[in-house]
Symmetry: C2
Subunit: 199 residues, 2 copies
Amino acid sequence: MPDPVGAVARLQQELTRLPGVGPKSAERIAHFLLSGDRKTAVALADALRDVVARVRPCRECFNLTEGELCPICSDSRRDAGSICVVETPRDIALFERAGSFRGLYHVLGGRLAPLDGVGPDQLTLAALAQRVRRGGVREVILATSPTLEGDGTALYASNLLDGTGVTITKLARGLPSGSSLELANPQMLVDAMDGRRTL
Amino acid sequence: MPDPVGAVARLQQELTRLPGVGPKSAERIAHFLLSGDRKTAVALADALRDVVARVRPCRECFNLTEGELCPICSDSRRDAGSICVVETPRDIALFERAGSFRGLYHVLGGRLAPLDGVGPDQLTLAALAQRVRRGGVREVILATSPTLEGDGTALYASNLLDGTGVTITKLARGLPSGSSLELANPQMLVDAMDGRRTL
């Protein structure tokens, strides 16, 4: 419609703010929500309000939680000596799904990006340093994203933890498993070559 | 996370009900909504509630509206003698964007699908017949989708309007403009051949 009715237009506009939702998807979703008995729209609105009201950062690692501590920090079977430092709570979900890591996490809340106004104070770097200095930590794995900003953030964190005596590691770089050499970009090949191992 | 916290898991579940949103997009959207100041989540929840509370079917054509009559039915510049029958309010948006049709619409609310329990009573077919019998209508354009069910619905509507004296037309079938012959399926080619015109 050239003049979509106010409430529908506003819903479509809000929907286009979501990642991966363009104007066409927003229109499709809005009309889907308006068709039928509209239970889905009400349930979605409730779920959004619930999440905003109840979910907050874990006191210890800044993961998302509804309690004081997140389920991972409260799990005594996890290895508290190993902390994997990630940028966002979503990264934790990815590692947990992969299932190999049994330690704890620390969510930075982003990566250093001075040009966008993200400095060390905008991240939970001070809390990480405090957590490590409290003791009991053997290793800190810096699992920031494999980008310039991610690497810069890892470097900053590594300097910050200098002198604490803990081992500081970074994720391996190389070829993505299940991919093919043809699809690798030059940097992947350089990383794969630099990190080569004897068989 | 193996056990995502309740409210976040519920939000992700509600998001996957949306068309075009799979589990991965739902996760991405949920984490996006939980990052930052959460204004987007609140605004989206508000927009959803607003739409559910305020938007209803137009008394005349069953388009979406916040008033009694939709903006199209209330527009005296539109040609009330021509009614384009569509399946959903979204189809109206598509025609309006194309911009060539200046008549009014009638939203059926779907198409006949006996196997899915959608019979004539689930659609606004009776209201359409009533509207046409009230008079002032010259032409009814059946713009249902170009599928078996859409064609069946058009046939049913056409029989229903039999004897009212109005001209009943269907949308043209043929090659999609801007496409190429290579991409046409056999039915498109049959339609294009059947509907060929002299130059």
